[in-house]
Amino acid sequence: MKYKLIKAIDVAGLTFLTPVVRLCYGEEPKKQLQEIGRFIVVPLIAFAVFVGLWGAIAPRHKTKSGEVPTPLVVWDAASSIWRFHDREADKEDAYGLSGKTREQKLAIVEKRLSQLEPLETLANQHVKEANAARTTSVEELVGPILTQYEKLDAEFSAAQTEREAALKRDAGLLASADRAAREAYLQRVRDHAAKTEAEREQLKELKAEETAIRAEKFPQLVNALKAQTRIAEERQYLGKLSEQLGHGNRTLKLDEQMAQLRADQVTFLSAEGDAAFMLAQRIVRQEARIQKTSESTYAKPWTLPMQIYRSLACVFAGFLIGSAIAIPIGVLCGLSKTFMAAMTPFIALFKPVSPIVWLPIALIIVGGFIPDPDKHWLIDFLANLPLLGWMKINPAFIASAITVALCSLWATMTNTALGVASIDKDHLNVARVLRLGFKDRLFKIVIPSSLPLIFAGLRISLGVGWMVLIAAELLSSSEGIGKFVWDQFNNGASDSFAKMMVVVFVVGLIGLVLDRIMIVFQRLVSFDDAAAAI
């Protein structure tokens, strides 16, 4: 059991857990504790230090779009993203509910709404109080500054007028051709200008001090506003929810439309002439409307979890396209030096090209193949697939996937070529002695022997693809994590910055998991004891 566990950990590339397992089995506790200290505690401390430094440094740096968010703010943003996703899912459910469950749910929602009312009044009251408290405290602080400002301002302008008058007076006394006197006069004017400038600076400083005090955060107000926003958000959500459960509900809408239809049908039986024609038309229209309503779903906005799902689908689509191109070409390159020579210029030329260049090209080409996405068979087909259909795969998605493929396939291709070319000569001799045909040689000897290197290449490719994808989505506006970042950047709400930081961690975490998965595959196909690099 113990060795099986350790082996599984090793295959999964989570070797830092090995000492924990060994410790649980009581094996050399001192040594295991040392290992745990080094491989678990030290990284945790390092991360804690990082978070601490971040929290300490972030508030000092003010940008045009607000403060750099602290870890706490980012955490808040993450939970707000999750809450949004959760609530949208609720609304979607509510739209499809019918019968008793709908009524029960509606009752719960209304009850909660009525509970919220006093809370909201209270929150508003708090905000009002906080605002008042803030005003008094600010005025208290600002008052003396303002007094001083006014005093100085009056003093300075009086002094300036006086100086100017003196200068004007003395200008009349200047003797002609008295060079030295004129020089001295000029100097006096210069001094006057400098002094005026200095006084202006002084006033400006005072003004800045005042602005700073007015802009300073007032914790009481911040908290009150936060609570108020939270309640307002919930109330809005519950309002929408009750709408989805009430008159916006699909079943209710259908019932209403059906009733209308039945009434029309009854009148139609006795109608004559023009009226009959009109009614018939109405019935047909109503039937079509009912059909549409019964197929309709809640118009759910994109939430980050949905966008993550779509991004993952996109990266795997690109990865599959890339691998399907890279592996066969890589195998051919490895088998034939001539073919390799033919491919080398392409590999060398296209490998360094940035995704930013591939994307517009891919968009144009895909756009050429799919001029009208609403009526194209491919888009239609993809929209009806299970698990993928709801993602609304569009040309931008396809172009992003192609960009991922184009940027990521090179690592797989070169690694496959290397793997095939460096196959052990003895293994080929075995194939010769057995007189294996080309197909058998390829699938029984060449490919199995190069699998570890192929998978090493695939691992790099997936990592590159994930990096490229975010940029591609950002540019192509294909719904996904990249689009989320771009929307936040353009939207400029108070928590946009924090939400972008959330994405940093989400992207990093998913990249890490993808890499781990590829390591497991790599370990499973590698046949020697040499552990794959982590």
């Binding site: 003895d426 010769r432 002695v433 057995l434 199995p448 046949f527």
Partner: protein
Amino acid sequence: MAFIELDNVSLGFGPDGDRTEVLTDVCLEVEENEFVAVIGFSGSGKSTLIALLAGLLLPDSGEVRIHGKVQTEPGPDRGIMFQNYSLLPWLSVYGNIELAVKQVFPEMKTAERKQYIQRYIDMVNLTGAEWKKPHELSGGMRQRLSLARTLSMQPEVLLLDEPLSALDALTRSQLQDEITRIWEEDRRTVVMITNDVDEAVLMADRIVPLTPGPNATLGQSFEVTLERPRDRTTLNFNPDFKHLRNEVTEYMLDINREAKELRVADAIELPDIQPIDLTTPSGRMAS
């Protein structure tokens, strides 16, 4: 007509100007069911010789004939057991043998094949290790697997390329006995390459020395007339065995000496100079 004939076979490597002749005018005849050991120093072209027999290499001049037929490509009728096992590391013990069996006997039914493979696994005492990968096996077990794979092809000729040289002494003697036992049960023509005189005397019917390369060729052959089965424990006291062993060893040393003398004759004579330290003692201290 002998079963295997090597007829004035020569083989060299390299371009015209910088050519190494590995084998020159090698002639060898092996009778059917004979066990021949080719013995030689390392680097004398032993592996090249076995590759020629297997058809992995083609001679520059001369012919390799089996059953009177000139050989032009390798095939499963000449089962070769490589020096470094050449097992496929991604296949299990069973899988390695299965690959060979499937290729050589494609008409065999699944159940029959399973039994057949198991028989060879049992034959080399690998029972229980069927699903292990080569890297989980010891050197001796790997070589046994290699032997089982080669035997499972039911070759007419068994070519053993220093099969035991990578093993420790104990495993080695154990495998020597096993190979001899299997060969005695199921006689067939064997050519074994070795660098161990004892091994050759113990196992073979005839010993053929290979002169040191380049331009290696086969020397005078020694018949081993010791009775089978040969028991290594009593053999050490057998005067015939001792005599033959000494004779072969002496011969090998002789040809090696000759070859060295020959080589010295056309070697460039190096100037006899000694480096002299010319630095002053103080200079040496400073540095």
